[in-house]
């Protein structure tokens, strides 16, 4: 496998979205979220702690802080707002089992920007299978009709 081919596969896998369950005060619906890591500092890895974009699972889940950006489409936005928004923030990953490869968790905070304005959100996550699968809950108290979003996190690198 050539590096270019591998990079292409990586690029394609970044296009795979994580499905969302969007829970507002009166509505329940779906959505999709993508995520990218421009920068990560791993304090759990033995060498090369700073990574950008292409982040191996052990670097992330053995203990790290990442700067992330997440474009998202979440349903049920108010009539005067777009369903699209972007989140950018920091997330802390900590290992639970097998240095995080089997099980890890995360705690994050982000600023979101939607057509109607911006605000703060917080998230909590649990990950398994080298971080390929996870469950994250994002709380955005001021994001109307999308206050609570649960994501089945799908991620390869």
């Amino acid at each position: 496998m050539s590096p270019l081919f591998a990079a292409s596969i990586w690029g394609l896998t970044q296009l795979v979205p994580s499905p969302l369950l969007v829970t507002g005060k009166e509505h329940v619906g779906g959505g999709l979220r993508w995520q990218v890591t421009p920068l990560l500092y791993s304090f759990g890895i033995a060498a090369r702690p700073v990574r950008a974009f292409f982040v191996s699972p052990i670097a992330r889940h053995s203990g790290s802080v990442e700067l992330h950006a997440s474009p998202e489409w979440a349903c049920c936005a108010p009539a005067d707002a777009s369903s699209w928004l972007v989140r950018a923030g920091l997330r802390l990953y900590l290992p639970l089992l097998e240095h995080g490869e089997q099980l890890s968790w995360s705690l994050g905070g982000a600023y979101y920007r939607a057509a109607g304005g911006g605000g703060a959100s917080a998230d909590l996550g649990l990950y398994t299978f080298s971080g390929v699968l996870g469950l994250t809950v994002t709380v955005s108290p001021w994001l109307s009709r999308r206050e609570l979003i649960t994501a089945l996190n799908i991620r390869y690198f």
């Binding site: 591998a6 990079a7 596969i9 890895i45 033995a46 090369r48 052990i58 240095h99 490869e101 080298s130």
Partner: protein, 307 residues
Amino acid sequence: MRGMRFALLAWLLVLPGCGFAWRAMKRNLAAPPERKVAHKIQDPRRPDARLAALWVGHATVLLQLDDRFVLTDPVFSHTLAQVSPRLVEPGFEPENLPPLAAVVVSHMHFDHLSFSSLDRIEPRTAIVLVPPGVRASMPRYDFEIRELAPWTAYEQGGLRITAVPVQHVGGRYGIDAAFETRAFTGYVFEYRGLSVYFGGDAAYAPRAFRAAHARFPNLSLAILPICPNQPREYMSHTHEGPSQALDAFLLLGAARMIPIHFDTYINSDDAPGACPAELRRQMQARGLSAEQVITLGFGEQRVLIEK
């Protein structure tokens, strides 16, 4: 859980694009419960031995060279990547290990580099040797993790460990193999006139074996993988089958061989027992005896050279 394992196996195995992946996946899902090993050795120290080997399973071997102990590719976990169950339990408990002069890791595939296993042996060793590029894919431990490039050596108290080139594939999670092009190796251990070749996991590469023989002409022992063997065409780029392992043994010119890397996990089309059976057929065809090619059972220890 079964569905999740199926999806993950599909993800991990289909990425390399090989058809056998589906068959291996189905067999993994239908794998029987882990077989127990009776009468595990409690104290592996053999005062009567100059050279002794204990096969824990797969590529994990505890070697005694006089008063020094070396452990290869330590994997004591019960599943690989949470998806591939172990067929036979480890034949030795890591808590019974003597102090180790070194631990070597041949590459970072899940069946050779187990983070939880390294946790369990952490108090027993001061150093773990790995191929180039592997440190950046390992978590922090109390022991030193040192990368050895091909033909470079680590030496401590008269024990010399040299990394020797092999043909395999690096990476741990699939596509990282494309970027970790040097992250696999074999090793030769030398101590007080004894020398042992450990092949880890490798394809048949005559040039590499000839080069190792030229550098180490008097090998006391070669530890060589014999599986996965089938499908041969796919495996030939990365793995020796029993026939190629014997060819490698002859090229290395070692006094004796111990086969490893078989019957512990399902990672091929080979049925349990198929690789050692083929090895016996090939030994017969080449006129090699059971004293030259010594197949150990899980947890079995053999004194190869007495004092």
